[in-house]
Amino acid sequence: MFTIMLAEHTFCIENRYDYVKKLCEEYIIPDCNAQKIFITDSQLDYEKKLTIGFPNAYLESLAVYRRICELLVDENIILFHGSAVVVDGLAYIFTAASGTGKSTHTSLWRAYLGERATMLNDDKPLLKITSSGVTAYGTPWNGKHRLGSNISAPLKAVCILERSEKNHIKKINKKAAYPMLLQQVYRPKSPVKMAATLNMIDQLAKHSSLYRLCCNMEIDAAELAYNYMKGEAK
């Protein structure tokens, strides 16, 4: 059993396997009276159906995050699938279907910007949505390369990635971004929480700048994307 703090909320995880504890290492805090998370056999079976061929220890970690995300919806926090990097104190999230090159692109940002760029989370950051803006939080679930940090930053932009031989970027409106935003957000099982999630997606679109970047895997792509997005007023 151990306690973690994620996006300023605490959870006491009653784990069966060591894997999830190891995964959460950087987020562990002294035990306190926190919301308990215990994964049942049926929750483990549910993960087994979605993610075939992985050991129970790994599936437990997925089930834990799913449970946490269901709870966090009530705190105006959503999981958003993407690679998030922080530059000069502001977070930029790149999102796309799996295999498009989100992680590759943020690795180009690190190559281009050096120490100014810090990975927040390479796969599944949390976003806290308030009426005054959006804050991105690192989490232990940070992708297969395990890139991320236990930090938070105001979200500046969400950028949808597409592959292309030539690099170009443009600002897009909410309507154009909407299908991708909905695809990349965690969809809670309960319709009530899903409705809350949709309201948060609307706020996310309102409070952050939205872009579509068509790019290759050269460092020029990072140079273009960063210089275009940093200049835009929020």
């Binding site: 909410k174 909407y178 299908p179 695809q183 969809r187 809670p188 319709p191 949709l198």
Partner: protein, 86 residues
Amino acid sequence: MKLKDGFITHESDGEHILVSAGDTQFNGLVRSNKTAAFIVEQLKSGTTAESIVTALLSKYDVSKEVAHKDVERILDTLRSIGAIDE
């Protein structure tokens, strides 16, 4: 027939959309025009294709034939994503 549990509608900047919560197969969204939105709203309580056509005719100035076609077409789309409990 009725809209399946787990499918919810949302109004966003005047646009009517239909999405599903996490426990369903469908993970896209349906963007509805006025007619489609009206039909989806009718499906929130148990109804029949005939009742939807009647409701459509009382609300919009269209011929019975067009209303029929619209309803069947939209129901087919909704069926294809598993959004209808027959």
